[in-house]
Amino acid sequence: MQEAQQLLWRLISAPEGVQKGIRDYRIRELPISGDHRLSGAERLDIYAAMYFFRILDCLKEDYPAVLKLLGSDRFHNLVTDYLWRYPPRHWSLRTVGDRLPLFVKASPLFRRYRYLAELAEMEWQLLEVFDAADQAVLREEDLKAIEPARWGGIPLALHPSVRLKSFRWPVDRIREGILKRRPLTRIGPEETPLLFWRQGLKVFYRRISSGEWRLISSLRDGDLLDRLCERASQKRMNPAPTIARLLKGWLRDGLLASGGGRAHRIAGG
């Protein structure tokens, strides 16, 4: 039984189909019955097609801009090669495309589109943010309920969906251009720090300044508002207006997680 399953898996995952796999592996007899309508190999080929096209459809959804950039045929061939190199091992289809950005780097397509791997990385990042853990967000009303004298002691934490990622290409513009079918002109390497987050069921991203990057990074492990102001002043940022502006934006976008018990304890004294 094990032998039969291994044989069928090799044929189902053969990159050029079951018939070619049978020839390549020199298989004399299949353990599959055929009839007047379909041979055993043709029946097995139904599974091979389902295997490939189910994953192809999944990756088309995961990587819409990569698909549009390459076109259906080249994307199809990319996925064929990818599945041969990295056949799925996880029980969830969600993870099936996790190594595509890495794989793309070794693909001949990467020589033509130097931003292709980063574009794929960005699209994967969007999926990760969508799947990230959920937590209640801190709202402006929550802060206003706290006595201003105690604001400095408010612990701030990022919402679990927040991600910072720096790219060497302007992948945000590239992706938008591809999806909106705008010509990609004057595209060259450009440091592109992006902030990703999720609000409700929607995923967002935007470019951020190096100052905001540093402050958000410092919030990763939790930080007090006082400490954040201190850090802003060390960076020669004018702390009060800068922090107030950033904080307002973070609260509006839902970047901060509700401090839960601690924040409420402060509010309650």
Binding site: M1, Q2, A4, Q5, Q6, L8, W9, I12, S13, L30, P31, I32, S33, D35, R37, L38, G40, R43, L44, I46, Y47, M50, Y51, R54, I55, P87, P88, R89, H90, W91, S92, L93, R94, V96, F130, D131, A132, A133, D134, Q135, P160, R198, G200, L201
Partner: protein, 293 residues
């Protein structure tokens, strides 16, 4: 142990917003376990809201009960954790294998129906049930191939598995029809062979005609021929929790809900007719079932 839940639909991401906004009067939801076997995230949050208001059943596609690979403990642990969170009425998966050598084809592949396979599957079902601390349901798959060394029919094999392992059956009426055309057998013979006391749930779905074979695509409404088979199944098994599956080109929630309502109307009609006939013959068994005896 397995209450009659009524007529439900599969929970799909596309319908989250509608469900959370309208709380439609659907009887129950079936969730695809692998979509929620994650650390956290929005889908789990939505599921928590839904599980508070509706009966939920967990249905998996990656247990791979028939593979010759060892059972994946990480998979089972994640499934158990999800079950502890959602408190489903029951957990089901498929009578199939989905990969070997650590690979996952994300396909529901049929098994050779032999004594060797039977021993293998029964042992694994028992192991899974021990781990989860509850009996599971196994579903018949749509199939496009059969093995030269099979020595029994699919329904004989399925019946033997449930009898010997203590698990139960999720009978997919569409899958029976698809396989009956692909392998030239009588679908009614399949239905007649299923033990009444082991059946817990029906699935209904759509399929596509590819000329030489039918494909279980779940991207259409239930075909008339499958509705007729469903009527026959209700005649034999009575009122059974029924679920409408639709996985591709998913229509608005209202459409799915209306198909579930159609299943209810049809089942009620058949059930009442069958009960009346049985009572006329002096059999009181249906009444006892209705009274919860």
């Amino acid at each position: 142990m397995f209450p009659f839940l009524g007529y439900g639909v599969g929970l799909r991401t596309r319908h989250y917003t509608t469900i959370l906004r309208e709380w439609p009067p659907v009887d129950w939801f079936e969730i695809l376990s692998e979509n929620y076997m994650v650390a956290g995230g929005r889908p789990l949050w939505v599921l928590d809201q839904i599980a508070e208001r509706y009966p939920v059943v967990i249905h998996g596609v990656s247990l791979s009960i028939g593979t010759t690979d060892p059972l994946r403990r990480d998979y089972l642990s994640a499934l158990k954790k999800l079950a502890q969170r959602v408190r489903p009425r029951w957990i089901s998966d498929h009578l199939c294998w989905t990969g070997v050598g650590g690979h996952n084809a994300h396909d529901l592949l049929p098994l050779p129906y032999t004594e060797e396979t039977l021993r293998h599957v029964v042992g694994r079902v028992k192991e899974v049930q021990d781990f989860l601390g509850r009996p599971i349901l196994l579903e018949n798959v749509s199939s496009y191939m059969s093995f030269t060394d099979s020595r029994m029919t699919e329904w004989e094999f399925l019946t033997a598995v449930v009898r010997e392992s203590g698990c139960y059956i999720l009978l997919d009426i569409n899958n029976i029809y698809v396989s009956s055309v692909n392998h030239s057998f009588d679908p009614l013979e399949y239905i007649e062979a299923i033990p009444v006391d082991r059946l817990v749930q029906f699935h209904l779905a759509g399929h596509s005609d590819h000329g030489k074979y039918l494909l279980d695509t779940h991207d259409h409404s239930v075909k008339p021929v499958v509705w007729r088979l469903y009527e026959k199944a209700v005649e034999r098994f009575g009122r059974i929790s029924t679920l409408i599956e639709w996985d591709d080109r998913i229509p608005p929630f209202q459409r799915l809900f209306s198909i579930a309502q159609k299943a209810k109307r049809l089942a009620d009609k058949v059930y009442e007719r069958t009960t009346a006939q049985q009572l006329a013959r002096g059999t009181a068994a249906p009444l006892a079932a209705d009274l919860g005896a």
